[in-house]
Symmetry: C2
Subunit: 604 residues, 2 copies
């Protein structure tokens, strides 16, 4: 997966329930509440790197777990984990050393370096994706594109490889690269992995891990990162039998899709179409691609992005990565960044396995048995010993040898056509005829043949998915910000609050906090400030349930539960709490089912 | 944490229930069953890199989750996630550019490079850890240490920095390094993190992530890695109030500890001592260190390593990392590798925060309020305007200025002792006496003071912990290998097997497989070969429960459950299965409680 530019598709601005500066508000809240912020702030910050704070790192882990559950565990897909640093051979074979670059251009005045196609898009509205360096230079001159920093004139664009380069061990010639995708760790292990699938197709292998892409000038905050986490699956299938048995399970799922056919005609409105139809109408060429696209839509919907804010855009021939035969980008609409790719769905065909087979000289095909073995007739040469002995005398051994080295089909054809064939070694040659050779046929049973599988790759960018989850979780109610994270990915599940910080309430609340932790919940304790302020802080952290310990708790071991989403409150006995909360977080009961309704706090 | 050499402590060979070649068997099984293997096999392999296959990657994730649960969630510690690639400033400040090196030496004959101290230890039995380059060279010559590859003479040792180096972005002067530990991502974010803890001590911050250490010549397979996953906590505490409230919870926990005091006297037998006593007897200097050491022992015990196969070895002054004031390594005994460090427990004092404060010029102290504000008396100078005017005339402004610049305490002392003080600027000077100056006292309220916290760091190497878990899980029974992974980290929970691969049994088994997946279990389906062979394969994969679908299943919707550990079988109705299995994996019921006992298979 190569994350593309922010698309030319422009946001229609409807995405948020909040005002235009939602993106700005989110960035401020993310910093303040410990979701994420730019890395290395202490040293002035470095573009393209992101830190996840206490809330963000929990949210990120939950999103990864949700993906693992949906895409890996439930699908019976295998998981692997391979290194970030690779010897150069791997990326020579994969084509990344040749192709994984972007055009860089420097300012003649201030010497700053920029991504040439990005400047062209920003200043002239022309997409430079896939343009040659010459074409780019021409377009930049014609459109008077200038240095965004000092207004200076720009030089010649050149190609900059975006692999982070290093050396492995103490030998300087031992070049290594940081992986820009996790996929190569799967392809290079194909033999072992197909053995563990007992050589049967289809089978899928997944990986989650850090990847590095040395972006030239990342200027889109948390959206364009040099270090990112990717979750991807390589689904290997038989190119002669491309069916996906699982497709039935999602056949009626509707996806919004914008095929190149439409884009090239200037179309900007996606088609809404059931996934099976998208396949039958050949918009999507590969069944496994269609299947994972349907799952990807569900995944983003579960994370709170409405279907109308999602679409699949097919990439044009020149926009696709070097390995791809068809790619759809799953885009979601974000208030500050427009339509942004959160996952890519490519068919990489047999490209990678073929390349690694060629570079490593290791056979990476798999054996495909025929349903029933084929019986092949094989032409065989049967030399007539007596005639050969008679005609060639002392040379007979050489003649036998030359006959043996001949291809039966060729020899038979020449003798049939010409009446004789000349067999030679060096200066010597012998004329053999039907008198010396007869032909017969052997029956040979062929059980199957070897083939290199095709692969479909759904590839997700965790960082952008987390950003989108935050943006769609962020809502406002009576001037307060509430982060309505979905229950299954919520970073902190419970807040425990003593009503006041005195009269043994903090002690009681702390003991409740630790018993809820023992029960497996993620809990935050807070005793600072009024209870109202603490509820407000909990809403901003997206904590779904506040558990308040008050004087009544000391008398009768019950607590008040307060909902982030409705601001309603119910009263529950502590002994029932763990089981009720478990059911609530598994979405088996509603908040109001957890106790006696005592107060509706919509007007809190 | 800097993983040390394999220790001089030698294994007594008692660690396994299996034969001597247990390590060899484990490596073979790990490759064959998809636990782990050396990376880049396809290209001949690269030392120091490890791939985790389908079983291994699940096991690794489970171990990480268990650690998160025990060390982070239950302790209320905050989690963060920061980048691997860092600008050079970070490691200049941290001291890694200066100190994170090992001595390299090359062979004069074949030009291969080696780690000098490692050769000395291997060939002469002398630990070179912490030796100067000169001392190393001398010892190598005296002990006739040679190239292990060609027997050639060795050159001069030099220092090799083990940070992987790269450049960030298109400017070649923008040097970056891959982190060798996750800790710096926490220290550089100290301000934000202490704000999120509302500036109160103690508080802990954890991180799990990949780290890179460019080892010179890693030759210990999965034990010495160039790329590894570290789980660490930085626990910040008040150096003036070092107590650990949590210590009570583990006070009676016994740890086996080998302090330097004993090691330096040649002692090799650890002391067995309750953790509180280890602290009171000053073996362990910091309470938080003692606390985490107790948790670390529990953690490894839970993962199957008996207490007698664990110990904490205190590192000597010259063996410790540059930042450490006291370090204990938690070692476990492995059959092939001897005593190997799985976690390090250091007190890094205020070293890192002080260094980052100095390099970034940002104040990284925190404000520590006094219990009650202190009232301080402050000496103040009160110039006598009339006398000054009278005696110094046109110079009076300069005199006022010089008085103002003086320190009240010094001035007061001189005048008291000598009767007068001389104040000068350049060539001019003035003699002032008690006639010109009086002294008074102001009351100043001081609410607290600023201090830089100390930090204790428990740091775990996931890869070695996984290896140890596998080794201790590996047992033999009647010539079969059984991987008895603990239930809470088991990679695959259930095997689903049709008794035979015909008569609709596979279909029924597959539908059961998918419903068990929907219920949240990790399931593997297997129909190849006899049921006995499939049970044997499941034992080798460490699958605790086999679920067999047979003809009776078709009639009455019940299945046979078969235990990995006892080989017993029970019969259960499918409708009860999910709840029974859940309880079994939460260790609330025994295997035999899951149904009607039908067969004891100890003699399978």
């Amino acid at each position: 997966m190569k994350l593309p530019f922010l698309r030319i598709l422009r946001s229609d601005g409807r995405s948020g329930q909040m005002s235009e500066d939602k993106g700005e508000k989110l960035l401020e809240l993310a910093r303040r509440k410990g979701i994420f912020w730019q890395s290395y702030e202490l040293y002035g910050g470095v573009g393209g790197f992101l830190d996840y704070g206490p809330l963000g790192s929990l949210l990120k882990r939950k999103i990864e777990e949700k993906w693992l559950d949906l895409f890996v565990r439930k699908q019976g897909i295998r998981l692997v984990e391979t290194p970030i640093v690779s010897p150069s051979k791997v990326f020579e074979a994969s084509g990344h050393i040749e192709h994984f670059s972007d055009p860089v251009i420097d300012c003649r005045k201030c010497e700053r370096k920029w991504r040439a196609d990005q400047l062209l898009e920003e200043q002239a509205g022309i997409s430079g994706e896939g343009m040659s360096l010459d074409a780019l230079e021409k377009a930049i001159q014609e459109n008077r594109v200038r240095c965004p920093e000092c207004g200076g004139e720009l030089g010649h664009p050149s190609s900059f490889n975006e692999l982070f380069k290093t050396t492995i061990g103490p030998y300087s010639e031992n070049v290594g690269y940081c992986r820009p995708e996790t996929a190569q760790g799967i392809f290079t292990n194909f033999r072992r992995l197909s053995e563990s699938a007992r050589g049967k197709l289809p089978f899928g292998v997944a990986q989650i891990g850090r990847c590095l892409r040395n972006e030239i000038a990342p200027r889109q905050g948390p959206i364009r990162l040099r270090e990112l986490t990717i979750m991807e699956i390589e689904m290997f299938f038989d190119p002669e039998d491309q069916g996906c048995d699982e497709l039935d399970r999602v056949a009626k799922e509707t996806i919004r899709i914008l095929p190149q056919e439409l884009v090239s005609q200037g179309g900007k409105e996606p088609i809404e179409i059931p996934v099976l139809e998208a396949l039958e109408d050949h918009y999507v060429k590969y069944a496994w691609n269609a299947y994972f696209m349907a799952l990807a839509k569900r995944f983003m919907s579960d994370l709170g992005v409405p279907e109308a804010r999602q679409l699949f855009l097919e990439k044009g021939e020149h926009e696709r990565a070097h390995y791809s035969v068809q790619t759809f980008d799953q885009l979601v609409e974000l208030s500050r960044w427009g339509w942004v790719e959160v996952s890519g769905h490519s068919c990489r065909s047999e490209y990678d396995l073929k390349r690694h087979a060629a570079f490593s000289k290791v056979d990476l095909s798999i054996f495909k048995p025929y349903r029933s073995p084929k019986s092949n007739k094989l032409l065989k040469i049967r030399p007539e010993k007596a005639a050969i002995h008679e005609d060639f005398g002392k040379d007979e051994r050489l003649v036998f040898q030359l006959i043996d080295e001949s291809k039966p089909e060729e020899l038979s054809e020449i003798i049939e056509r010409e009446g004789a064939a000349t067999l030679s070694r060096g200066a010597v040659s012998f004329k053999v005829t039907a008198r010396h050779i007869r032909f017969g046929q052997d029956e040979v049973e062929e059980k199957g043949r070897r083939l290199i599988p095709y692969v479909v790759e759904p590839s997700f960018g965790v960082d952008r998915i987390l950003y989108a989850t935050c943006e769609y979780a962020m809502t406002e109610k009576k001037d307060r910000t509430i982060m309505r994270f979905p229950l299954d990915v919520v970073p902190v599940q419970l807040g425990v609050f003593p009503l006041v910080a005195k009269d043994r309430l903090p002690e009681r609340a702390k003991s409740l906090e630790s018993s809820l932790r023992e029960e497996g919940f993620t809990v935050e304790y807070d005793e600072a400030g009024s209870i109202g302020r603490r509820y407000a802080r909990a809403d901003e952290s997206g904590i779904p349930i506040g558990v308040t310990v008050d004087y009544q708790t000391l008398r009768e071991d019950s607590v008040t539960l307060r909902s982030r989403d409705t601001w309603n409150q119910v009263r529950t006995e502590i002994k029932d709490l763990p089981e009720l909360l478990r059911q609530y977080f598994m979405k088996k009961i509603e908040f109001e089912d957890m106790g006696t309704l005592i107060r509706r706090q919509g007007s809190e």
